[in-house]
Amino acid sequence: MAISLTINGASHTVDAEPETPLLWVLRDNIGLTGTKYGCGIAKCGACTVMIDGKKAFSCTTKASAAVGKDVTTIEGLSEDSSHPVQVAWIEQDVPQCGYCQSGQIMAAAALLNQRPDPSDLDIDAAMSDNICRCGTYRRIRSAIHRAAEIAQG
């Protein structure tokens, strides 16, 4: 079955059942493997993307629910890793294994969309959906504050 989606500003038509999680359409049909699979049940955040600028778990979002919306994945956050969150992440060398980091970065970017200068409590609330088994939480926190500074110039 054909589904048409707009991913990172480009339109794609894929052969998948409408109930297929967006995660697997992104990864297998479109080849955007930066979005990761961790749990499949909205409990780890590895699959986080933005839909119309808001964070979403692509593992529990049906592909059909993304039709007509703007989906942004890590590959589309910026062309050249110049999004303030990516810049701050590089500056502070946040990733260890890196597997969770696409999701962390997308969740952080979505947070800054809503709260340009988040408090630690805001960060706790927004980022506790995302597991990092490497335990990079302290760097994530400080890099979000740094990204807010960068974004505000």
């Binding site: 961790g38 060398d93 890196g98 597997y99 990092c132």
Partner: protein, 762 residues
């Protein structure tokens, strides 16, 4: 609540090394290191001159350094090239890193000059040691990597000396430039000549005082790939004509798939095939509990469904009717396993005990004592919960097999794949990807064997992905362990006698029984046998094995992770029984020259150790030695009136001797604190009807950012000959430090993990 400014200040790493007072700040980062590792890290750029197996120099002085260890977050793609570059004296800004080629390691022997220099002692393979575990990346590869760099540097100098008609001693090498008097040239210009030079004698490597690059917290070379989705993990591999497999195998180890009905799902979109796995199906080596080799990597009975996308394969697998036979272990539970061990523990005369350590006559001293202390401790089975679920992509043809996998042991993956493919090892190629963590789980290769068998049966490239549920249920678990301690508290300044019995599921017995030493599993008694840091006039440790049908395996810091909880908690109990301060009590039990003293004192000082806190607040100590590194920690916790625990901070002093990259070590320590705290708070694998109960992160809980304590890392480096590992040793002290802090805060003693099972209302 943590304050960001405070956090930022805490970011500075304070060093308590003999050098004293050195404060290391942030390295000013740039994006200039982009492109220094490929997204597909097994792919080397073409061209350049190989000077030796570890390094290739391009005409433009780019130096590509080959890395034999697997990048799973610990930073080997940055730290190990630094060791080579330190000696080579090349321009670090032009260093690239790539994985060493496994197939070549298997085919080629160590280079003769490396053997001559005494640097090739790990294996006879070209790259010496290509497995990543046991916190060995620096500890066990430092000498040969340094030698590779030094030997290449001297060859470059000799090549220049020959051209210029001067002595090698008169040529200097700095930042990829060779010079002597008015002559100068680049590494790139002399690389080809250097590759042909033989030296009479290989150069000595530097001593730590001579380091200029080592010791700097340089930006990680892999970061740019990990902020834009371009780092390729095993699960991301895509090869032409690839199809996808979803698998389900017997949830009970040793059980079997009786039947399945592929006809019921074969007409679903994209579905291509089903293959029976293990008994009666595909695969060379089938799982058999009675055979060590087979139970370590054998293929469990089950089924794979193949489709043109993973979700189609998975849906068909889940909808396909299946019938299972649990086999002979269908009534086993974690309770039955652990209760069995506790029965042995309660009987000191059980004939299956073997002595692990004995000084004096502890048993008699305790029997004669009128002042004894006894306690029993239990730690559960744990799963690794790698962030990246298990997966492997394989392609098998008549004369070649290719495997793409994030593995901690590429040569072992290669031999497993060769066996399943039915090909000589020379014809098998393992392409190591980035690893979405390993923690020991990716040393096992069971996914490699399964994927190779499936790809061979399918006759085209197949990517096998395990769901999170399958990953948890098919875990290879850290064993449970149980402990009984008795002590005679008589004695002038310290308890006179200590007797410890341990009953556990033995990894050695499960995997490598030939390495049991008179019934003792060395890692199961780590830190509790002669390695016990404390001394008593009489001390005795006995060990008995009680295995179950569960597959057990190495897990970040393994035995130390559970043993430190038991001994450090019991020492705390002894201190309180003696009415002593737990810090003073420990110091009194340590020999004068104990290497534990300095880290313990540093952690206590930095934490502001005190027992004088309000009710509901407490500090606790834990310490341990693992992989040649000592770590002491002080945890500070609060427990609310309603019993809500918060771990506020952990001060961690580490003596690993020397440090290559301080910030990577700090990151490792934080990572290990999170790992240890996750296990202490939540970690527990239950077994019902022979199978694992937990399946996903809604049940097997992980520490999250809102629970993250402040972690302060303090280097307490003793230098000298000590080069300890840094990938694991900060895990073990966490659980006892926190449990002891809980006791200080509430008077509640936790003797069985995890903490979340305990009511902490004071």
């Amino acid at each position: 609540m943590k304050n960001f400014e405070m956090d930022r200040r805490r970011f500075l790493v304070t060093s308590s090394s003999a050098a004293g007072g050195l404060v290391l700040g942030f390295h000013i980062p740039t994006a200039a290191h982009a492109g220094r590792i490929m997204g597909d890290p097994w792919m080397a750029a073409e061209g350049g001159q190989e000077v030796n197996a570890w390094l290739v120099i391009d005409p433009d002085n780019t130096v590509t350094i080959r890395v034999g260890q697997s990048e799973m977050g610990e930073g080997v793609f940055t730290g190990l090239p630094m060791i080579v570059a330190e000696e080579l004296q090349c321009d670090w800004s032009k260093v690239k890193a790539v994985y060493a080629e496994v197939n070549r390691h298997v085919r080629n022997k160590a280079e003769p000059y490396m053997v001559a220099a005494g640097a090739a002692k790990e294996t006879d393979g070209l790259y010496q040691r290509m497995s990543t575990g046991g916190s060995g990346a620096v500890r066990r590869s430092r000498l040969y990597l340094a030698q590779a760099g030094a030997s290449a540097r001297e060859r470059l100098k000799q090549a220049a000396a020959d051209t210029w008609g001067v002595a090698r001693a008169d040529v200097s090498a700095e930042d990829s430039v060779l010079s002597s008097g008015s002559n100068s040239g680049t590494f790139g210009e002399f690389a080809a000549a250097a590759a042909t030079i033989d030296l009479d004698q290989e150069p000595a490597i530097k001593t730590p005082e001579e380091y200029t690059l080592i010791g700097q917290s340089l930006p990680r070379l892999d970061t740019p790939l990990k902020v834009n989705g371009s780092a390729t993990y095993g699960i991301d591999v895509r090869v032409p004509d690839m199809v996808y497999a979803a698998v389900e195998v017997s949830p009970v180890p040793g059980g079997r798939l009786v039947s399945y009905d592929f006809d019921a799902v074969k007409d679903r979109p994209g579905v291509l095939a089903a293959h029976r796995l293990g008994e009666g199906g595909i695969g060379v080596l089938h799982y058999d509990l009675g055979d060590v080799a087979q139970r370590v990597t054998g293929i469990q009975s089950g089924v794979a469904v193949i489709a043109d996308s993973y979700y189609r394969a998975l849906t068909a697998l889940q909808l396909m009717p299946k019938e299972w036979d649990a086999g002979e272990f269908g009534d086993v539970s974690d309770e039955s396993i652990i209760n069995g061990a506790l029965e042995v523990l309660a009987n000191p005369d059980d004939p299956t005990y073997n002595p692990a350590n004995s000084v004096g006559d502890a048993r008699a001293a305790i029997a004669a004592s009128d002042n004894t202390l006894e306690a029993t401790y239990v730690t559960p089975y744990l799963e690794h919960a790698c962030m990246e679920p298990m997966n492997c992509t394989a392609h098998v043809t008549a004369d070649r097999a290719d495997v793409w996998v994030g593995t901690q042991n590429p040569p072992r993956a290669l031999s497993v794949a060769a066996e399943e493919a039915g090909l000589p090892e020379e014809q098998v190629h393992v392409h190591t990807t980035f690893l979405g963590t390993g923690f020991g789980r990716r040393l096992r290769q069971d996914e490699v064997r399964q994927a190779t068998a499936i790809a061979k049966a399918q006759g085209q490239p197949v990517k096998v992905v395990w769901t999170r549920e399958e990953t948890t249920k098919q875990g290879k678990f850290r064993p449970y362990s149980t402990y009984h301690f008795s002590a005679s508290m008589n004695g002038d300044s310290k308890p006179e006698a200590y007797w410890n019995r341990i009953v556990s599921h033995s990894i050695f017995n499960h995997q490598i029984p030939q390495f049991l030493n008179e019934g003792i599993d060395r890692q199961a008694v780590e830190g509790l046998d002669a390695r016990l840091p404390y001394v008593f006039d009489h001390q005795q440790t006995d060990y008995a094995i009680r295995d179950s049908h569960m597959p057990v395996h190495w897990w970040r810091s393994v035995g130390a992770s559970q043993n430190a909880f038991a001994i450090e908690s019991f020492v705390d109990e002894m201190a309180h029984a003696a009415g002593a301060d737990p810090l003073e009590f420990r110091l009194a039990l340590l020999p004068e020259d104990s290497e534990f003293r300095n880290p313990l004192e540093v952690a206590a000082k930095e934490a502001g150790w005190t027992t004088d806190l309000r009710a509901g607040e407490g500090m606790g100590i834990g310490m341990s030695e693992a992989f040649g590194t000592i770590v002491a920690q002080v945890a500070y916790v609060t427990v609310s009136r309603r019993g809500q625990l918060r771990v506020e901070s952990i001060d961690c002093a580490i003596d690993c001797g020397h440090v290559i990259h301080p910030r990577l070590v700090q990151d490792q320590v934080e990572s290990q604190v999170v790992f240890g705290l996750t296990a202490a708070l939540y970690g527990e694998i239950h077994i019902q009807n022979g199978a694992v109960v937990e399946d996903n992160f809604d049940q097997y809980l992980m520490l999250r950012i809102n629970e993250m304590p402040e972690v302060n890392t303090h280097f307490a480096l003793s230098g000298g000959e000590k080069w300890g590992g840094v990938g694991e040793p900060a895990v073990p002290p966490v659980a006892p430090a926190v449990a002891n802090a809980i006791f200080a805060a509430t008077g509640k003693r936790v003797r069985r993990l995890p903490l979340r099972n305990h009511d902490l209302i004071g």
